[in-house]
């Protein structure tokens, strides 16, 4: 069997999810042996044209040029993966969508606006069909390996759409929301990170986007009871995944 051709692409993002691939040090040489990395600008000088078997896309789409590139990538890749929160839901770049008009954003940062071509930031599935999502800011290395392995084996990966709370409970952490009164978003945020932040005594900020069937409206009410202001609640829900209907509902609930 020929090695599958893999490509990594980057849109508006911090490059941290691509770096995560290089952070798989102990698996890296195995991965290089098992797949043909045909396109990975961050790591290679010789990059090859498509078609590819699997394309990983990091970053949100924020310019018309990126929209065109993304559509071309979709045509070139048999299997397309949204890699990381930015590609899944718009992530950090999507914060600008809720902070004012595009013009206002541009005026705050640049003096000459004629050359700026920016559109509201969205995850890649706003424009093209996506075959798999690697959530998280940045992606979880375990899930990344799981996906690569599943693709090689031709089986579907074990990604469970449940809330972070489950993983937190399994670790027997003290609940930050219930017992410490901290505004933790774990109950509405998709698991897979191993409840990383709550395990480190830090409330979940929702970087992995909404869990299956998230009841953000009820959580927003709970946040108010904890003493958060309406603005605080808005800020919480419009950070990593404000583009999703679930988190948008949470932001607008109070």
């Amino acid at each position: 069997m020929a090695k599958p051709r893999i490509a990594f692409f980057k849109f508006s993002s911090c490059a941290g999810c691509q770096l995560s691939v290089l952070n798989l040090e102990e698996h890296l040489l195995d991965i290089f042996g098992a797949v043909d990395i045909a396109y990975f600008v961050m790591a290679k000088r010789e990059n090859h044209e498509g078609p590819y078997d699997v394309g990983f896309v990091e970053g949100a789409v924020t310019t018309p040029r990126e929209v065109q590139e993304l559509k071309k990538i979709r045509e070139e890749c048999k299997f397309l993966v949204a890699m990381g929160t930015c590609a899944c839901t718009g992530g950090i770049p999507s914060m600008k969508n809720f902070a004012g008009t595009q013009r206002q954003m541009e005026e705050k940062v640049y003096t000459e606006l004629w050359d700026i071509q920016s559109i509201p930031a969205h995850g890649i599935d706003y424009y093209v069909k996506v075959d798999a999502y690697l959530r998280g800011c940045a992606v979880d290395l375990g899930e990344l390996v799981e996906l690569l392995k599943s693709l090689l084996l031709g089986v579907s990966p074990h990604f469970r759409p449940h809330a972070v709370c489950n993983e937190c409970k399994l670790k027997e952490n003290v609940c930050l929301l219930v017992h410490k009164g901290k505004p933790c978003m774990g109950s509405v945020t998709a698991a897979g990170c191993g409840a990383l932040c709550p395990s480190l005594n830090r409330p979940c900020e929702g970087c992995r986007g909404p869990a299956n069937d998230a009841n953000t409206v009820s959580l927003a009410q709970k946040f108010l009871e904890l003493g958060l202001t309406r603005e605080d609640v808005r800020r919480k829900f419009l950070k990593y995944a404000g583009n999703t209907p679930e988190f948008r509902r949470g932001a607008e609930a109070v």
Binding site: N166, V178, S187
Partner: protein
Amino acid sequence: MANKTLKKDQVVSLLNKVAATYQLIAPVADDSVVMFKPLSSAEGVVFDYVNSVLPPKDYFFPQTEQMFKFSTRNNQIVINPPDPVKERVLFGIRPCDVQSIIAMDKVFDREYKDTYYLDKRAKTTIIAVSCTEPLPTCFCTSVGGSPTSAPGADLLLTDVGDVYLVEVLSEKGEAFVQKFSEFFGNENGEGAKKAEVEKAVAAKFVRTTSLEGVKAKLDNMFEHPYWERLARKCLGCACCTYVCPTCHCFDICDFNSNGFEGERFRCWDSCMFADYTRMAGGHNPRPTKKERVRNRFLHKLKYSWDRYGLGHCVGCGRCSRECPVNLDIYTVISDVKEVDANV
């Protein structure tokens, strides 16, 4: 079998000796969190706790449990059973959690014998300890339990001052007492002291209701709007099912480590998840939160009676303590008694 006594200052020595031959599982505290852990000695075991965050059901029905290992090298499929379980002593479990194990026995020991569960069950000696300080969320007495009796355990210890009264409740318990006979004395009036303890503890319960009439009412409440009300609040996080000592749903998956070797495992699942009842074709008989919330409460308070003749809520209060939005099964019991079933 006659009651025995165990001096409090002897417990640590006993557990150390137990740990030398058995796998000892006992409650330890990490900050304020009490957890049941496998231990190599009695160091760190806590005695003055009310209950653990997670029930000890993990030791019969683990979060993740290997079912078998497989390898497919050289065109041969080889299946190996999981590593065998050692004989174990589970010390310090509370009466409500003992009751939950009885409830789980009914599930795993039916027409289909779940060997994974039953093997662990057979190899475990359960030493329960009576509660003397219930939490405000505890309500075992409301659902037919008692903080000071533990039918189904092998031994029950009750703090009656300087000594524990040891009630020997099974042959396994008897064998244990004989094996470690140097630690156990004969009862001398401690039984009467226990009656006083019992009375004192019973008076400390804040939550008192009963299940009287609840099941009969629930029989006619399947389509009641009450469930809709609960569902609006529920976050669907499934914490309740993970901390519940009688929840026993699981999923089965394969883990393939390198394409040739791997294992099949099962892990906890939850009826609160949207994809729990979703079928391969996409149909979901419990499409919204309302159906899922309803299922959970009906399962605890009605279906379990229908199927097994006992309740699946043991009144431990864990779901009441851990629910982020205070959806409380005790309140549900009280509400069900109040609402008009014919609405």
